[in-house]
């Protein structure tokens, strides 16, 4: 699996969402949530998924992760269909979702507990390294309740990175942090995800913060309000690092806003 994805040329699709629809059933009456959604996330691409609140963007992310099932259509990763959670896909949550009764290190090790081929010491080693990469060396034995919001999310990212994933899904990862903390974390996380040494082949992030999207994403997929279909898709070709005060940046922000409203 890993090798096939690694051999893909840059830009070729890693995640393919193919005509995915989702209905909720309410008194036997189908209630459409997602209608015929198709999109791709290419190799070395950072894709942002946005739309009006409640449109189902997080649900789409959950379908991609294999946690939820679509009513119709398929999700493929490098050619293999996603039918349930897979080890090469990982997730970072809006509310961190750390185990409060486990230390930072134990939280990261938890994500490795399915890796039978690793010894306890190797797991510990990997977990410490992931924490260190996320700027948390020295915090191994601290409980999540003793950490600030930004640090908790760093543990969440470290947990995801430790599994050496190929597809990184992020569900509003910065939205429960204050502006300043979010700003710093965005920079650090982008550098961690998109670099030559990482195992990550593609990133899909759900967000409703348009400036955040224009700052980070290579491509943005805009969903319409419920029932959601793809309202637009743009490739953001701004050079990096992106200057949030440049007129080009603002014109991109306007462009996405106009589709959202």
């Amino acid at each position: 699996m890993a090798t096939t994805l690694a051999q893909l040329p840059a830009g070729s699709p890693v995640v393919t969402v193919d005509h995915v629809s989702l209905n909720y059933f309410n008194d036997k009456e189908p209630l459409p949530v997602l209608v015929d959604v198709s999109m791709t996330a290419g190799k070395d691409e950072f894709v942002a998924l946005t739309g009006p609140s409640g449109c189902g963007k997080s649900t789409l992310l959950r379908i991609i992760s294999g946690l939820n099932k679509a009513s119709a259509g398929t999700v493929k990763i490098g050619g293999a269909e996603v039918t349930g959670p897979r080890p090469e896909i990982t997730m970072v949550f809006q509310n961190f979702v750390l185990l409060p009764w486990r230390t930072a290190l134990e939280n990261v090790m938890f994500a490795l507990s399915s890796r039978r081929e690793l010894s306890e010491a190797q797991k510990k080693d990997k977990a410490s390294k992931a924490l260190e990469e996320c700027g948390l060396s020295g915090f191994e034995n601290v409980y999540p309740g003793e950490l600030s919001g930004g640090m908790k999310q760093r543990v969440g990212v470290a947990r995801a990175l430790a599994t050496e994933p190929e597809v990184m899904l992020m569900d509003e990862p910065f939205s429960s942090l204050d502006d300043l903390t979010a700003e710093r974390l965005r920079k650090d996380i982008y550098a961690l995800l998109i670099n030559p040494t990482t195992s990550i082949k593609t990133v899909i992030m759900v967000s409703h913060n348009v400036e955040e999207i224009i700052e980070l994403a290579d491509k943005v997929v805009v969903l319409s309000s419920r029932p959601a279909h793809v309202a637009g898709e743009f490739t953001i070709d701004l050079p990096r690092p992106r200057n949030k005060k440049s007129p080009e940046f603002f014109s991109w922000v306007d462009k996405v806003y106009s589709l959202l409203s």
Binding site: P85, M91, N95, V97, L99, P100, S113, S114
Partner: protein, 510 residues
């Protein structure tokens, strides 16, 4: 029973409001509530009966004693609810009334009572179940001494039908009781709870209405016993922090008051029974030898309570976790468990004796009765704990594809920990109460003779019942006092520490 409930609510309102609004009263009332909450009230019942019967030697006296018992069993929990509700009223509301020069009665009517309404409703659901247990138990206890029995009641009916071989009537009665419980619980109390919603002050998070069981049992403890533990420990609940130091000071006074009430009760009893009379203390050697036998019985019962608790721990939490992780299973099983749990254990005792293997072992019977009176608290609290975990946390094992073992070790068991401990505290309390029927149980036949159904070789429950029947005030007093000291001491030391640790580590907040 309704009378007792009405009295309880009235009492709870008075005490709760006074405690919440008067700092000096708060310092004494809170620790006092804590003590009353944790002692096995059933143990006190014989003393109360003898005391009241001494004053009113007729059926009215006995019925009064029963009402007092039920009232006592139901009050504390509701009083806590009122206290917390009134304490939580935003200061601006109080200021408003201050500025309008409202009288105490107006304040009570306009603000305190409406503010307490929803808490009273929720806590009543709990108190009702507790009260029912005591109702049946008290009727049955009085049977031991023919001169002291209530003339009619469910408990008596059940045992009489049983002893005279009317098994059909016995079963019919239990079915009837279950129906009554179901109707009362799911219709009346639920409606009351829903109706009281409109009295909610602020945007408190609404608990799920489709889930009466969970709501019900999480209230048993979290709102009462455990909150106080938390309070005494001085952690977490900020708005109560100033109350903590007062609580510590108040504990002394509260203990004094408690001892005074106890002494009064004993004196009253002694006086009503004639010799040895007030002031004539029995010789020290007699006290010591009685205490020795009481201590032995207490030790036996202590071991009994704990091994039954051990069995409950092996069954309860895994069952609770499995049920609450599976939505379909939960929907089917939890109402069934709820109904089984609502049948007071004493009423089932005659049937338990008939179980072939157990019937010949009084120890087995006692263990089963104790378990039936206590395991539910563990199961329902564990269920409530697991259900209240955020769904994302419960999903983590799937997200990271971890093994079932790792999921239980890292997610489900720690997630259930808080509910397990709060449930355990109440379960142990329930177990001590159950001893009094579990260790010695007689039924009265229609012709007035009594038959001994089961008795264990030794135990504090048996000691108390026997002492009651023979009017042995000394043994009774020492037994009740020793048991109380043991339980309160245990709560203040062991449980409080465990509870503190668990709240610190095992509560879920982001």
């Amino acid at each position: 029973m309704m009378l007792a409930l009405g009295l309880s609510i009235l009492f709870a309102l008075t005490i709760g409001i006074i405690a919440a609004r008067n700092k000096r009263a708060e310092a004494v009332i809170l620790p006092l509530l804590d003590i009353f909450q944790s002692i096995p009230i059933l143990g006190f019942f014989p003393l109360v009966i003898l005391a009241i019967y001494g004053a009113l030697p007729n059926a009215i006296g006995i019925n009064l004693a029963v009402i007092i018992l039920i009232f006592t069993s139901m009050s504390w929990n509701i009083a806590f609810g009122v206290y917390e509700a009134v304490k939580a009223i935003p200061q601006s509301y109080v200021d408003l009334l201050d500025m309008s020069n409202a009288s105490t009665w107006q304040r009570t009517k306009q603000l305190y009572i409406p503010a307490s309404m929803s808490r009273i409703a929720y806590n009543t659901q709990t108190s009702w179940a507790v009260g029912l247990f005591f109702l049946v138990a008290s009727e049955i206890i009085t049977l031991g001494n023919k001169s002291l029995s209530v003339t009619y009641g469910i408990g008596i009916g059940a045992t009489q039908f049983f002893s005279s071989g009317d098994y059909a009537d016995y079963v019919l009665l239990i079915v009837g009781l279950i129906l009554a419980v179901v109707v009362w619980r799911f219709v009346f109390l639920r409606e009351f709870a829903l109706w009281s919603e409109k009295y909610k002050m602020m945007e408190e998070p609404r608990e799920q209405h489709n889930d009466p069981i969970m709501r019900f049992y999480s209230w048993v403890n979290q709102r009462a016993v455990s909150k106080l533990f938390l309070l005494a420990q001085g952690r977490g609940v900020n708005r109560f922090t100033s109350a903590i130091s007062r609580f510590r000071k108040g504990l002394k006074y509260a203990t004094l008051i408690f001892v005074a009430i106890f002494a009064l009760l004993v004196l009253e009893t002694v006086a009503s029974r004639g010799p040895p009379g007030i002031g004539h203390l029995p010789p020290t050697s007699l006290i010591l030898s009685t205490e020795a036998s009481v201590a032995y019985a207490l030790a036996v019962s202590f071991v009994r309570v704990w091994y039954v608790y051990g069995i409950s721990v092996a069954i309860g939490p895994p069952l609770g976790i499995v049920i609450s992780l599976n939505f379909k299973l939960y929907d089917i099983v939890s109402p069934i468990l709820e109904v089984i749990a609502s049948i007071p254990a004493p009423i089932l005792l005659p049937a338990i004796v008939l179980i072939p293997i157990l019937g010949h072992s009084s120890e087995g019977v006692a263990a089963l009765v104790i378990m039936l009176a206590s395991i539910w608290y563990i199961i329902f609290n564990v269920m409530a704990g697991v259900r209240s975990l955020p769904s994302e946390i419960k999903e983590l094992p799937r997200v990271f594809g971890v093994s079932r073992l790792s999921a239980w070790r890292n997610v489900y068991i720690p997630g259930a920990m808080m509910g397990f401990v709060t449930g355990s505290i109440t379960a142990i309390g329930g177990a001590w109460n159950a001893l009094i029927i579990a260790e010695y149980f007689t039924v009265t036949n229609k012709n007035g003779t009594t038959t001994l159904l089961t008795q264990t070789s030794a135990g504090i429950g048996k000691t108390i019942v026997l002492a009651t029947n023979s009017g042995n005030i000394l043994t009774l007093t020492l037994a009740v006092a020793s048991m109380t000291v043991l339980i309160v001491g245990f709560n203040l030391t062991v449980w409080r520490r465990v509870y503190h640790h668990v709240t610190k580590r095992y509560t879920y907040n982001r």
